[in-house]
């Protein structure tokens, strides 16, 4: 009996540690966008989308129901996804935000684990695009995309594995609902 208990612990404990490590890694892939809240006051348009947990599970379930080829592809692409967080700020005037705010997000991507996948710099509109990924071995833990130009800032943080190539191909091919951008009633 005692040996059975000991054996069980030897088997279960490593599994707990593994689960903890996986969870911790997934959490490390999460970027913190709180400091960008101040951009809302000066932005003309703001889009903020946070999908994880039950909301994400519900959405995945719906994708499986939809009889659409693109939707099926997307369903496959996001099968292991744990969360997706998006912020987009558009400004009426150039330099409507402080570059330091966005650089703070880019600084988070210099933390261990993140690897730069691609980086684009364009003098036209002062555009900067950075794509980072985080891997644990062969498994993808996260993706981060930071796009900034003179009149807009867009950030995407994906937690979990996602098919980047497929997503890039699908850009614009889905029947996406055209939501009205939130406008602050006081401004």
């Amino acid at each position: 009996m005692k040996s059975l208990v000991n054996y069980s612990f030897k088997l279960i404990l490593p599994l707990f540690f593994l689960a903890a490590v996986i969870t911790v890694d997934a959490q490390n892939a999460r970027l913190h966008f709180e400091k960008l809240n101040r951009l809302e006051t000066s932005a003309s348009d703001v889009v903020e989308v946070n999908i994880d947990g039950k909301l994400l599970d519900t959405a995945k379930r719906v994708l499986l129901k939809v009889k659409d080829q693109d939707a099926q592809k997307v369903g496959q692409a996001i099968n292991g996804l744990k969360g997706i967080y998006v912020r987009v700020y558009n400004f009426e005037n150039e330099n409507g935000y402080s570059a330091g705010d966005v650089d703070e997000i880019r600084n988070q991507l210099s933390a261990p684990g993140w690897e730069k996948l691609a980086n684009v710099r364009s003098k036209k509109n002062n555009q900067k695009v950075d794509v980072y990924t985080m891997f644990s071995g062969d498994a993808m833990d996260g993706l981060a995309v930071v796009v900034s130009d003179s009149k807009s800032v867009a950030l995407v943080n994906v937690i979990g594995p996602i098919d980047i190539d497929l997503l890039a191909e699908l850009g614009g091919h889905l029947n996406i609902p055209n939501l009205d951008i939130e406008k602050d009633g006081n401004k």
Binding site: E34, K35, N37, R38, E40, T41, E48, D184, G185, N186
Partner: protein, 193 residues
């Protein structure tokens, strides 16, 4: 069967009912509003705003510059709506809003100098406004707990019970904060006089 016997029987049955129904707390208005807001009802949100905006305004006024407060009040409610999924206890929405307001104020905190604000009003030569600024500055120089409670009482006009109800503090804590805060405020104003 006589009426008395029937009534007696009814009471007997009532006493045998499970007590949970009798002791269940009444559903607060905030709980109903939160459920409606989660469904996207603007009217419910407007009502919640009407209920708690003075409290949020007071908390922010205790911490940031006056010209920032109105915008921040709006931001606090927008932020609250966006993070509604984080609210675990709908009954405690007031305390939750207060926490958001304090956090927001901390983010937007800019050191203010009462003398600067006073100097602007001295230029206009309005004595009443000078006095108000002086009092506000004195309140804001008090410890956090006292200044917040005093501003909610003296500026926003909330009673002690309302402050406790909305901020989630116990009435006893509010009473102590008001008492001690007033004492300190009188000393500060008394010293200046």
């Amino acid at each position: 069967m006589s009426e008395k016997e029937m009534t007696g029987n009814l009471f007997f049955l009532a006493n045998r009912q499970p007590n949970s129904a009798q002791t269940a707390a009444p559903v607060r208005r905030e709980t109903i509003l939160i459920e409606r807001i989660r469904r996207g009802e603007q009217e419910a949100f407007d009502e919640l705003y009407k209920m708690f905006a003075p409290m949020v305004h007071g908390i922010l006024l205790a911490r940031v510059r006056r010209d920032e407060v109105d915008d921040l009040v709006q931001e606090v409610f927008i932020s609250a709506y966006k993070n509604l999924h984080n609210l675990r206890e709908a009954n405690a929405v007031g305390a939750w809003l207060a926490m958001i307001a304090r956090n927001r104020a901390a983010e937007f905190y800019r050191s203010f100098k009462p003398t600067e604000e006073l100097s602007e009003d001295l230029k206009t030569g309005k004595n009443l406004k000078n006095e108000a600024n002086e009092i506000l500055a004195a309140i804001r120089s008090l410890p956090d707990a006292y200044r917040e409670t005093l501003i909610l009482r003296l500026v926003e006009g909330l009673t002690g019970n309302e402050i406790a109800d909305q901020t989630g503090l116990t009435p006893e804590s509010v009473r102590v904060n008001l008492h001690r805060g007033m004492k300190m405020l009188r000393e500060k104003l008394g010293v200046k006089e």
